[in-house]
Every structure is written in structure tokens, then in C-alpha cells.
Symmetry: C2
């Protein structure tokens, strides 16, 4: 994460916070090493400068649209971001294939990495991209922590989740129950439906029924929201427990493997 606006301590505690969520998802500490750039820069930076020598300003300018007002940290950052794609090969002393899962916004960094790493003798990393869960305000854009009413946080309580979804989740329903029963809703722009589709209803048959019931008008917006609230709260209840337990085992993940 290269965040312009945050001081190093804040960035670091956010990184630790994110690490707890990763641990809570059930990764095996024996097989999983979490590196925070600034904590592990002793390992990462010497490799980053090897990569940096192969990337010109011209390339990052074309890739990210930087101009001369870009700061030199942003310009350099792709080098650090690319290191995980080869660090296991460096440590093993032989080429180790690498799969990088990332949010789609990180793709430009790894496109550059795929160009550069072979020139240092490493394999191109394979990529798997995640899309963003849309913000509550609508199906475009991404959730931002700076707009808390637009996002559900993994630390939100049951009642906060209920309130946020009921109050802020953009609905594809009609303005009245009567109209909705008659004309049906639009699941494509309904944030609650999209959340179910992307994450909270893994069963495609059930999802299809929700989708069709919404279009037919037999499922109301309030009912769609209730369905989502229930699923999100069930997920978060378990996640928050696992997240608490994660605090004890986090050091195992952060240690050098």
C-alpha cells in the first residue's frame, strides 16, 4: 500500500489490521508468510532496486499516467509491489512459480512485473484478479474507509450492519410496494442483490430464484435487504471471532518462514 495521506504508523497499524482478516480466513500459518513492506524492507528493498533498474519513468508514466508532479515514492513503488512475485525464487535459489491474487486496480503493477522479471531470470507471475464488492451507494466504484456509511467494515456490529444496509444500500426496487409487486425490481443495480451474488449466496440455484423473484415482484427490496443482513451478520459473527483468535497467532504469520 502506498498511501499519500497516511503517516507511517497509521499505515502500519492498518497493515496489521488487514493481516488479521487474512489470518481469520483460515490460512495455515505453516504455509503462509505475511510480509509488511516496511517491516520486511530489509529483505524486499534490495530486490526492489534490482527491479527498479529495469523500469524507466517512461514506463510508469505510460502505465499510471504520472506526470512530473508525481512524487518519487509513487514512481518507485511498482518495484516494491513486484518483489513478492520473485522473492520465493530468490530465497529458494531457483525459479518457483508464483500466483498473485490481487484487486483489479493492482493489475498495472503486475503487468510491469510480467515484463521485467524474465529480464532478471525469473518466471512471469501468474495472476488472479478479484473484482470489488460495490459500495452501498451503488454498483459502480469501490468501498472506501473514508466514507463509513458507504462501506460495511469487518468490525461492524450486527446492529450497525442492519442500519447501514437498510438505510444506505442502493435498491433496485420500485418506489412503492404496489408498484414493485406489479412491475418488479432490477437486480442489476440492486446493491444487496450484487453482494449476495458476489459473496453471500454461494448457491447458484438459490441465487437464481432470488434474482427471478425480484424481477417478478414477489421479493421486495426490504426482503432482499433482510436476506443480505442475515448473511452478512452470520459471516461477520464468525469472522469477528476468528479475527479475535487471529491476534494470538498473527506473529507466526509475520515471522520469516
Amino acid at each position: 500500500m502506498f498511501n499519500e495521506d497516511l503517516d507511517p504508523d497509521t499505515t502500519h497499524s492498518l497493515a496489521l489490521d488487514n493481516a488479521l482478516d487474512i489470518v481469520a480466513l483460515g490460512f495455515d500459518p505453516k504455509l503462509t508468510e505475511i510480509m509488511i513492506d516496511t517491516d520486511r524492507s530489509g529483505l524486499l528493498y534490495p530486490q526492489a532496486i534490482r527491479i527498479a533498474k529495469k523500469i524507466t519513468f517512461s514506463t510508469v508514466k505510460a502505465t499510471f499516467g504520472f506526470d512530473v508532479s508525481a512524487n518519487i515514492g509513487m514512481i518507485f513503488y511498482t518495484s516494491m509491489q513486484a518483489v513478492p512475485a520473485m522473492i520465493e525464487s530468490v530465497r529458494a535459489g531457483k525459479n518457483v512459480p508464483c500466483l498473485i491474487p490481487y484487486g483489479i486496480d493492482q493489475d498495472p503493477h503486475f503487468r510491469i512485473a510480467r515484463d521485467v522479471l524474465p529480464r532478471l531470470g525469473y518466471l512471469k507471475p501468474a495472476s488472479i484478479m478479484s473484482i470489488f464488492i460495490p459500495p452501498l451507494s451503488g454498483v459502480d466504484g469501490k468501498m472506501s474507509s473514508s466514507d463509513p456509511n458507504n462501506a460495511i467494515f469487518v468490525t461492524d456490529s450486527e446492529s450497525v450492519v442492519r442500519k447501514k444496509i437498510n438505510k444506505y444500500a442502493f435498491s433496485g426496487g420500485r418506489t412503492s410496494v404496489e408498484e414493485h409487486r406489479k412491475l418488479g425490481g432490477n437486480p442489476e443495480i440492486d446493491v444487496s442483490f450484487q453482494w449476495l451474488k458476489i459473496m453471500f449466496e454461494p448457491d447458484d440455484v438459490k441465487l437464481k430464484k432470488i434474482h427471478d423473484d425480484y424481477i417478478s415482484g414477489s421479493l421486495l427490496s426490504g426482503e432482499m435487504k433482510s436476506l443480505l443482513i442475515e448473511r452478512v451478520n452470520a459471516f461477520l459473527k464468525r469472522h469477528q471471532e476468528l479475527r479475535e483468535r487471529a491476534k494470538n497467532i498473527l506473529p507466526e504469520f509475520l515471522a520469516e518462514h
Copy 2:
């Protein structure tokens, strides 16, 4: 050191080699901590990115003449170079005045550092600049390890020093002894005299006599060279002994203080 052409292992062993020379000069290990960027990037990099955020490409472009073909490591490098000017303040948790001695070619980095550090709450570093001892080929330029006949290395033997100075040191003398006796030499372009002046004849009265004798023609080029060879070899004999001893205590200098 940000060297385009060297692999990281070579850069690192050169850094250790340079550290031996510093130790050999008599610094007190209790008061001296030597940091090699890539070994200590765990400490330095998190600070470097704080500095990097305050420097635009525009600034390094204007300062170093970079264009879009510059690699992003070179572009970022000023951030790392500036960290020693504030790292003691970071560690002490209060502003610690800092004097940076450096070769004149490093001045642009510290000019930028003097602009940026106050914006992070640190004192401007004070600077003391060293000039280069000229290469054997003439009083312009600087010695380069890639041209061994143009430089005396701290590891050169007595006979190599004698050979290099006799054969390669540019002389301000005349083409024949007769002419030299009659017209005198030119100490300003005489590399051996310049070396005596910059480093190997600390006594200004003696130096003045050598200078005047050369101009008058009573001191010949060969005699000037002999004088330098004797001084350089005396210095190197002692330096090489101290450098050998430095190998034992180098870890004390490299350890965190």
C-alpha cells in the same frame, strides 16, 4: 551508492570493502555506526518513503537532469541518500543536528535533503564537501576503479604504486632535464604535486618549497614523483596494516548502536 552496472552481491562486497577503509582511518567503534543501505533497509526504507513523498519527479529532473528514460531506482535514490541526515533524530525521538561529509558529486542529493527535511520536522543537515584527488592521467576528472592505471588503490603494493606513478602520473615538467632546469615545471597541472598538496604533504611550508623548487627547475619531475611514491607507500603500508586489523572489528561498526 546506486550503481547501474553492478549486481547486488558485487555492490555489497564493495561496500564492505569501503567500510574497512573507514575503520582503518581510526574511527572509534563505540561512536561510529556504518550502515550499508541494503543491509539496513529495514531501518532506512520506511524513512526513505516519508522523504520520497515530498520530492516530485520535477525536482529530481531539474536537479540531476533526468529524462523519461531514467530508471525508477535512480529517481527514488535521493530518498535513501537523504535518510542518514535524519535517522539519528528518528531514533532519538528528538532533533539531533547532523553534519554530512560527502564528495562534491553527492551535493545535489543533500541540497534536496535540506529542502525536504524541515517539511518533515527535522533540522537541515550541515554539509562538508570533499574534493576528488585527481586521476593519474591529469588534474581534471576523478579516479575510477574501471581504469586501474589511472588510480592508486588502497590495496596496491609498493611496487605497483611506484610503477603506476612513474609510468602514468601526468607531469608538469619539461620534455628534457635541460629544459626543465632552464624553464622550470608547472605544479598546477602536475598530478604528483597535486596529490602532495591535497593529501600527502600536510606541512604548508614544505609544500611551498616543493612548489617553488619545481617552478624554478631545481626539482625535477622524477624527483617529485619519488617524493610522492615515498609518501603514498608510507601511508599505504600503515593503512594496509590497519585495514587488515579492521576486518576483526568491522562487525562492531556494522552493528546497530
